[in-house]
């Protein structure tokens, strides 16, 4: 085993350095190519809850999706769980099995029951016996408060329930790192709370990177907030610093915009 495939050293689960990603312009569109990532740096150590915030198009999703290989950066270095993600020889499926991902639009498998959504990957990828996987899936559903929906198809669930199933589905693989891309943005306002509650609960035992517009959640749960603009982190630190005393003018302008109409935080 070479050093490149060794275990994560010193509890560093994510180490991204100078990532760039350019989307070529659509052919014949006449528009310039998009620099979605432009010198993106991020380190995440075990147990941290890192919230990525920033304006639309700042590269939050691209950065997050790079962490489990859904996007391939053009340059830079990227180590996740000790694997070099930009090594073309790397078996990405191995890394993905240990990195959970929760999407804005849930992406549950509509043709399978809630329970089968949870057991599919443990059985196929980990080779777990079906009954064992089912037992554990039921425990997970219990934990996110929807054990009674185990036999339903996802189409019958509310948005909040869907997202809780999606979180449980990711947890069923026993990931070492969880990625969330705006997990509450597609939800009706009254369902945001139940999903954040599950994430808050999870935060005690999991390392998480969360793209979010929920500043309340970031303030309360994040150990670190990173503000992205133009494909790079322009400011990061504990939520009390970045959210309450932003130093960068861009951060200040962004926070003023998203916090409009909401009660000013009391530090």
């Amino acid at each position: 085993m070479s050093a490149a495939e060794g275990p994560a050293s010193g509890g560093v689960l994510v180490d991204a350095r100078g990532l760039t990603k350019v989307y070529p312009a659509a052919w014949g569109s006449g528009r310039p190519p998009v620099r979605a990532l432009d010198g993106f740096d991020l380190t995440v150590t075990e147990g941290e809850i890192v919230c990525l915030i920033g304006p639309s198009g700042s590269g939050k999703s691209t950065a997050l999706r790079a962490l489990n290989g859904l996007e391939h950066p053009d340059a830079g270095t990227l180590r996740v769980l000790g694997h070099d993600l930009l090594d073309p020889e790397l078996d990405m499926d191995l890394v993905r099995a240990d990195v959970g991902m929760v999407f804005q639009h849930f992406n549950l498998f509509p043709h399978r029951t809630v329970l089968d959504n949870l057991t599919l990957a443990p059985v196929l990828v980990r080779g777990r016996p079906v009954d064992e996987a089912r037992r554990e899936a039921l425990e997970l559903l219990e934990r996110v408060g929807i054990a009674d929906k185990a036999g339903e198809r996802p189409g019958r669930l509310s948005g909040g329930q869907k997202q809780r199933v999606a979180i449980a589905r990711a947890l069923a693989m026993h990931p070492r790192l969880m990625l969330f891309d705006e997990p509450t943005s597609a939800l009706d306002p009254e369902m945001v709370g139940e999903v954040l509650e599950v994430m808050r609960d999870l935060a005690h035992r999991m390392t998480m990177v969360v793209v979010t517009h929920e500043m309340g959640f970031a303030r309360e749960v994040a150990t670190r907030v990173a503000f992205l603009d133009g494909g790079r982190v322009v400011e990061e630190g504990p939520p009390s610093g970045v959210l309450d005393q932003p130093r960068h003018p861009r951060t200040r302008a962004f926070l003023e915009r998203v916090l409009v109409g909401r009660p000013r935080p009391t530090p």
């Binding site: 993905r96 992406n107 498998f109 509509p110 990828v125």
Partner: protein, 256 residues
Amino acid sequence: MTRTQRRRLARAAAYAAAALLVALVVSRIDLDYAWDWGRFGRDWLGLLGKGLLLTLQVASAGLLLALPLGVVVGLCRTASDPGARLVGFVHVEVFRGTPLLVQIMIWYHVLARPLGLSTFGAAVAALGCFASAYIAEIVRAGVQGVDRGQMEAARSLGLSHWQAMRHVVLPQAVRAILPPLASEFIALLKDSSLASVIGFSELTYQTRAVQSGSFMTFEPWLTAAALYLAISLVLSLGVRLLERKLGGGAAQEAIR
């Protein structure tokens, strides 16, 4: 005149025109034709039956080749590997871009000897490859019609591309794939009549033989048409049932 009235009038006019056209054609058919269903049934129907059997054989064998080949080629076209995509592209363009009649001739005259194919084998290969190009496009469209997020979610859980395809994407694509697939099966059945040009004695070949042997024309050709139609209807109904069976449960929910 109200809109409904106008619409009713237009429909009546269309029916009348269609009826007139049919009547015109029928009235010009040779009324002196000496029908002899008795002689046809006694002396010649058996030959058509033999042809029908071979039509069923060559069409099903062609289908058995076309279906797996078409699925594989269609999946190649959706693969991330550029080599696989190129192979899929070339396959589809070659077999879709040349007339089936020409392909049958090439299989029979050029490829049959080196590949050791019988006439039956050449016909099956030609029909199967030809239909597989269309099936590949049907599969590709079906797969691409499934939300990209499904593949991403499956891959994020650690499934390989093929595991995700097999357990997540394809089951959801099946509903979109079935109806055009039924049309393709029927097209394959009808196209098998072209195998008559290489002397393969399927239904169309036998019908021509009956015509020249008996000097009857109406009975054999109308019978052949009825036989083709009967198989097509069975195929249609079969796929419809399959659709209903799949549509009742899982796939129906998937639409929501």
